[in-house]
């Protein structure tokens, strides 16, 4: 299957060339196309570099879809085994000499694995946000007047796990082409041109889709923050009512 990958690797027994995860070696930048061609010629070090470059992205994609770290690890690992097995037959769509990413191919393998194994579970939409986080989200979404200083910086807000979970569940709830373009751009780090090749639409159509998807994401996040805030208010009201009843009962019995 990938015997050539092994046999042609450093046949002299010397250490193979060293590729870095960012695709750069002593001789200059190695694009994915260069690494794939090298791996297809039997350079195992090139495939190791592709693994280092893409493992964490495929893990995050799998985590987004399975909402489970152990499943995400399995899917990511299996994706690279399948990729290794299929590498001899792989061909880049973009043959115009420009850099193209291996990510979409790995993305498709991972998604097929997730669908086949029925492990797809959208992120939980139940999150708890405290008041400063809700205020911070209102700032980030442009819901409040400029100058209304929140207790937290935008950086602190985007780094909070519960916010990231809320945003992931919002992305999962979008129409499929909206979530797909966001995943390709922000997770896969693909250019508009690469996304247009993958989604078979023009670059201007992808630009427009990215805009619509971002607007839709803002609306979905806003809807979820509103819902959390409503639940929070109801919970506070309910607690206040309980306290009042308890005080009332206490007065009567005392």
């Amino acid at each position: 299957m990938f015997l050539s990958l092994i046999l042609a690797t450093s046949p002299t027994g010397d250490e193979p060339r060293s590729y870095r995860a960012d695709g750069v070696d002593g001789s200059g930048t190695q694009t994915d196309q260069m690494l794939v061609r090298a791996a297809q010629r039997g350079d195992g070090q090139a495939f190791a570099a592709l693994h280092a470059r893409y493992y964490s992205r495929i893990y995050r994609l799998a985590y987004l879809k399975t909402n489970n770290a152990a499943d995400a690890e399995d899917v990511a690992s299996e994706t690279f085994l399948r990729a290794l097995a299929s590498l001899p037959r792989f061909d880049f769509k973009a043959t115009n000499g420009q850099a193209a990413s291996l990510y979409p191919w790995l993305h498709r393998i991972a998604i097929n694995l997730i669908v086949d194994s029925c492990r797809q579970r959208p992120p939980s939409s139940i999150v708890s946000l405290d008041a400063p986080l809700i205020e911070g989200m209102r700032d980030l979404l442009g819901d409040r007047l400029p100058g209304a200083a929140s207790a937290m910086s935008p950086q602190e807000i985007v780094e909070r796990n519960e916010i990231q979970q809320l945003v992931r569940s919002s992305i999962a709830a979008l129409p499929s082409d909206h979530s797909e373009v966001l995943i390709y751009r922000f997770l896969g780090d693909l250019s508009l041109k690469e996304i247009s090749l993958e989604m078979r639409r023009s670059e201007s159509a992808i630009k427009s889709l990215l805009h619509r998807a971002t607007v839709a994401l803002r609306a979905e996040i806003r809807r979820r923050v509103d819902a959390v805030e409503r639940i929070d208010l109801q919970s506070k009201k309910s607690t206040n009512n309980s306290n009042e009843v308890a005080q009332h009962v206490g007065r009567r019995s005392g």
């Binding site: 990938f2 015997l3 092994i6 693994h51 964490s56 987004l64 085994l81 990231q164 997770l187 971002t214």
Partner: protein
């Protein structure tokens, strides 16, 4: 136009991070916070080093099995397996 401005801003962020200048277009500027949220949510969580190492080891193991089954002279096989391990920096 807002679509161009947003696409340019996203491109600039992927190269310059937080140093990317915010778009002048008002509609695109209103989406800056959403872009930051999407970036952060899709940029996490990071896999553990252990998970990545185990994934590399599965690749090595797969390659070793292929060598074991391959019509190669038995004397050559240990050398080939050593090379695979060095390539994937695996102790497995």
């Amino acid at each position: 136009m807002s679509e161009d401005a947003l696409a340019d801003y996203v491109d600039a962020r992927s190269k310059q991070g937080d140093n990317a200048p915010e778009p002048l277009d008002e509609e695109a500027r209103a989406l800056v916070g959403t872009v930051k949220l999407a970036e952060a949510a899709l940029g996490t969580p990071m896999p553990s080093e252990e998970a990545e190492r185990l994934s590399r080891e599965r690749l090595v193991s797969q390659l070793q099995e292929t060598v074991a089954r391959a019509p190669i002279a038995e004397d050559d096989k240990p050398g080939i397996i050593d090379r695979i391990k060095r390539i994937f920096k695996s102790d497995g």
